[in-house]
Symmetry: C2
Subunit: 115 residues, 2 copies
Amino acid sequence: MSETAWEIEKAAHILKLLGDKTRLTIVAILKQRECCVCELLEVFNMSQPSVSQHLRKLKDAGLIKEERRGQWIYYSLHPQNKEYDLMEAILQHIPDQTENIRRIEETNPTLRCGC
Amino acid sequence: MSETAWEIEKAAHILKLLGDKTRLTIVAILKQRECCVCELLEVFNMSQPSVSQHLRKLKDAGLIKEERRGQWIYYSLHPQNKEYDLMEAILQHIPDQTENIRRIEETNPTLRCGC
DNA sequence: GCTTTATATAAGTATATGCTTATATGATTA
DNA sequence: TAATCATATAAGCATATACTTATATAAAGC
């Protein structure tokens, strides 16, 4: 396969991943604030495994990274990635997520440990 | 639904549409040159109805427009559309399609009429 | 070490998607 | 007006996707 065809393939894969409302919202939130799964759960009306599966796909594509801190696994964007530029360009056209982040911080699911 | 949620929904829909290798290549080609279906058929290894169905989806989303000229229906990008900015930003990260266009012009499927 | 909390993985399922072939529509030409 | 060419639509089908519930793993606290 030609280099061009391969680049199109990779870009299409990124676009397909971000072409899901939940995943698009996740990366838009992570652009403003790293989050663990239980925090993202406050935003979405779905089960924990479902959110974890979306995070897995984004991680497999290299768009986000994870970092375990004690009990929690924190997710954030992964700017070193080669496909990051495309995602960044897209995110500039996605509305601000301050409202969702406010909801996370009001509920504060990680309150118990005080961190 | 909030305005933000609706905007995310619309953006996700555009990204899902462009998250297909065939459709992404189509809009990348159309950015450089308007084409009719029989021209695009030279590029893709699939049936005519399949290409038509991809074009239909892009048209329904307002990303491309069609213009009948005699027997042929020419497709091109539709910059007046509200979602065009997002697509434009994406297309800046997609490789040049001159090679595919060369293939179209070599074969020249609309040769018969001389236009 | 047992329980709880956070998260991941597995398995199942309904729906969406992208292709195919067959057929319809619409313009051109003989 | 019959035949041809370009394109669209319909129907069918195999695979992909996004969820669910059930279960596994891994860290923290008693």
